[in-house]
C-alpha cells in the first residue's frame, strides 16, 4: 500500500507480525500503523490477540514472524531502554506489590523510569487519588483506586506512546468519564494511544480509529464512519405516529435520505397521517463488531 507515506513519522509500525505459541497462533499476519496524536481502539473478544499484540509492541515477547517498530526502534532489542522510557503501559488486571503504599509504588516506578519524583503529587491529583489514599498500602485499595494508580504509573514521564489494556473494567461510570477525559487530553497533546476493550459502546466517540481483532487476525481497521460503510449494516428509522404507535423500517446507509423523504412525503401528500417524531438509529459499534466477526467466521 502507501507504506512509505504512512510509516513516515508513525510512532508504531507493525508489519506482517505473527506470534505462535506451539501450534497455536496468538497473532496472525497483523499490519498496523499508528501516528502521533491518534487514539486507536482495538476491540475483540477474549483471546482475540489484543494483549498478545500489546506484549509484542512492548517487547515482552518477540514475534515469530514480521517486524515491529516502536518510536523507530525494535522494542525487544537490547537497546530498547530509551524506547521504554517514552512508553506508558496499563496492563490488563494490573497488579502491584500489596505491601507498598501508593506513594512508594509510584516513587519506585518513577525511579525506574528516571523521572523526577516531584511530579508525582500532580499525577495523583490528575488521576483523582486522594492524599489520604496515597499513604495507604495498595493491598487495601479498591479496584477503582488500583486502576487510578495504574493510570498514574502509565502517565509517568509524559509518554509518547500509551498502551491501555482493558483500562475501564470494574470502574464506575463517573470514573470512566474522567478516565476518557485524561486519554483525550493526552491524545490532543500528541500521544499515540492504543486502547483495548470489549466494552464497545463506551469507545464510541473516544477513538479516532477502530481495529477489530478476531482469532489473532485483524479483520477490520478504520474510522467509525469507514467501518459503518464497509459493514453496510441497515439503518433503522423509527417513526412515531400521533396515536403513539411506533413504526420501524430499515434501509441501507446510502438510501437513508431517500427513505426519510419517502416517510415525510407520505404524510405531506396523503395529508391524513402525521408523524410526530422521527428517529434514525445508526448501527452501534456492537452491531458492527458482531457483523465483522460473523463475516470472519463465514470466510
Amino acid at each position: 500500500m502507501t507504506d512509505t507515506v504512512t510509516s513516515h513519522g508513525a510512532t508504531i509500525v507493525v508489519e506482517g507480525v505473527s506470534k505462535q505459541y506451539g501450534d497455536a497462533f496468538a497473532v496472525r499476519a497483523v499490519d498496523l500503523t499508528m501516528a502521533p496524536g491518534e487514539c486507536v481502539a482495538m476491540v475483540g473478544h477474549n483471546g482475540a490477540g489484543k494483549s498478545s499484540l500489546i506484549k509484542l509492541m512492548l517487547g515482552l515477547t518477540t514475534p515469530t514472524e514480521g517486524r515491529i517498530r516502536v518510536l523507530g526502534g525494535d522494542p525487544a532489542s537490547a537497546a530498547a531502554s530509551h524506547i521504554r522510557r517514552q512508553v506508558g503501559f496499563l496492563p490488563e488486571s494490573v497488579a502491584f506489590h500489596p505491601s507498598m503504599t501508593g506513594r512508594e509504588t509510584l516513587d519506585f516506578y518513577a525511579k525506574l523510569k528516571g523521572v523526577p519524583r516531584t511530579g508525582n503529587d500532580a499525577l495523583f491529583e490528575r488521576v483523582g487519588l486522594e492524599p489520604a489514599a496515597v499513604k495507604r498500602r495498595v493491598g487495601t485499595y479498591s479496584k477503582g483506586m488500583r486502576q487510578r494508580l495504574a493510570l498514574a504509573q502509565a502517565l509517568l514521564g509524559g509518554p509518547k506512546v500509551l498502551f491501555l489494556d482493558e483500562p475501564t473494567t470494574g470502574l464506575d461510570p463517573a470514573l470512566r468519564q474522567s478516565f476518557y477525559e485524561i486519554v483525550r487530553d493526552l491524545r490532543d497533546a500528541g500521544t499515540t494511544v492504543l486502547l483495548c476493550s470489549h466494552a464497545l459502546t463506551e469507545l464510541e466517540g473516544q477513538a479516532d480509529r477502530v481495529v477489530v481483532m478476531s482469532r489473532g487476525r485483524k479483520v477490520a481497521d478504520g474510522s467509525l464512519a469507514t467501518l459503518r460503510s464497509l459493514a453496510q449494516l441497515p439503518i433503522r428509522i423509527r417513526l412515531t405516529m400521533p396515536d403513539g404507535s411506533v413504526i420501524e423500517t430499515t434501509c441501507a446507509n446510502d438510501d437513508k435520505v431517500a427513505a426519510v423523504r419517502r416517510a415525510t412525503c407520505a404524510m405531506d401528500c396523503k395529508g391524513g397521517v402525521d408523524v410526530t417524531d422521527i428517529e434514525i438509529v445508526q448501527p452501534s459499534l456492537d452491531d458492527m463488531y458482531a457483523h465483522f466477526l460473523r463475516r470472519e467466521a463465514a470466510e
Binding site: T61, A95, M100, F108, L112
Partner: protein, 276 residues
C-alpha cells in the same frame, strides 16, 4: 548500576514489610544464643573455648537451616511475579531482564546477610560478655563462620532463583526448591557414605572424595568451618581430616562463590529467553 539498587532496595523493603527480615533475624539469633549458652557450659576441662563449641554446633545447624530459609525466600522470586502480573509491568519499564534478576537477588542476599550477621553476631556479643578469655584466633574463626554462612545462604538463594526461572508454575518451583534442599543437605552425604561403604575403598580414593565434597556447597561450607581452624577441628573431631584435607580454605570459599555465580548466570540466561 542504579537500576540494580532500586530493585534491590524494593526487595529489601518488601522483606521488612512482610516480616521476613524480622522473623529470620529472630530465628537466627534465638538459635545462636541457645547454642552459645549451651556451648559455654561444658568447657574448661576439654581445653577448648566456648567460641569453638559454638562454631561447631552453629555451623552444623546452619547447613540445615540457612539453605531452607534461602530457598523459601527465593523460589517465588521470578515465577511468583510473573504469576501475579507484576513482572509484565516491571519489564515494560526501561530495565534489562538481567538487571531485574540480579537486583532482586541482591535484595534477597542482603536480607540473608543482615539476618545472619545480626543473629549470629548476637551470639558473639553474648560470648564476649560471658567473661571467659577469648583469643583473636577464635574470633577470626567465628567471623569466618558468619561470612561463609552468608555465602552459603547466597548460594542457595541463587539456586532458588534458578528453580524460579526454570518453570512456569509456582507449585513446581516450590517442589524443585524442596528437592534441592533434600538433595544437597540430606541425601548427598548419605549417598556418598553409602558409596564409600559399598565400594570399600577400591576405586573411591581421597581425591575423588574431595571432588565429590566440592560438588556440594553444603559440604564445602562444612569443610571450610570444621577444618579451617585448628582449635575448631580439634573439638569437632575433624583434626585428622583437616590434616589430610587437600583443599585449602580459599579454594573452599571460591567453590561457594562459584555456587552463587553459576546458578545465577544460568537463571539470568533462562529468564532473558522467557516469553512472558
Amino acid at each position: 548500576m542504579n537500576t540494580l539498587l532500586i530493585i534491590a532496595g524494593k526487595e529489601v523493603r518488601d522483606g521488612l514489610r512482610n516480616r521476613w527480615v524480622v522473623a529470620t533475624t529472630l530465628l537466627m539469633a534465638a538459635l545462636a544464643l541457645t547454642m552459645s549458652f549451651l556451648g559455654a557450659a561444658p568447657t574448661g576441662t576439654v581445653g577448648v573455648g566456648p567460641v569453638e563449641v559454638t562454631i561447631v554446633s552453629l555451623s552444623s545447624l546452619t547447613i540445615f537451616l540457612l539453605p531452607l530459609i534461602a530457598l523459601l525466600l527465593s523460589f517465588d522470586a521470578v515465577v511468583g511475579e510473573i504469576d501475579r502480573g507484576t513482572m509484565t509491568l516491571l519489564l515494560s519499564y526501561p530495565v534489562a531482564r538481567w538487571q531485574v534478576l540480579l537486583g532482586k537477588f541482591l535484595g534477597h542476599a542482603a536480607i540473608i546477610a543482615f539476618a545472619t550477621v545480626l543473629g549470629y553476631g548476637a551470639a558473639g556479643v553474648a560470648l564476649a560478655m560471658g567473661g571467659t578469655e577469648i583469643g583473636a584466633e577464635s574470633w577470626r574463626a567465628f567471623a569466618a563462620m558468619i561470612g561463609s554462612s552468608v555465602l552459603l545462604g547466597a548460594a542457595f538463594t541463587a539456586m532458588g532463583y534458578l528453580a524460579s526461572s526454570l518453570v512456569r508454575d509456582r507449585g513446581t518451583a516450590a517442589g524443585i526448591a524442596v528437592a534441592v534442599w533434600l538433595a544437597f543437605v540430606l541425601l548427598y552425604d548419605m549417598g556418598l557414605l553409602g558409596l564409600l561403604v559399598a565400594d570399600g575403598g577400591k576405586t573411591l580414593n581421597a581425591e575423588v572424595l574431595n571432588w565429590a565434597l566440592l560438588a556440594n556447597p553444603a559440604d564445602a561450607y562444612r569443610l571450610f568451618n570444621l577444618t579451617g581452624f585448628k582449635n575448631v577441628s580439634l573439638f569437632a573431631g575433624t583434626a585428622g581430616l583437616a590434616a589430610h584435607a587437600q583443599v585449602s580454605a580459599p579454594v573452599l570459599l571460591g567453590v561457594l562463590a562459584g555456587w552463587v555465580v553459576a546458578p545465577l548466570a544460568l537463571a539470568a540466561t533462562l529468564f532473558s529467553r522467557k516469553q512472558i
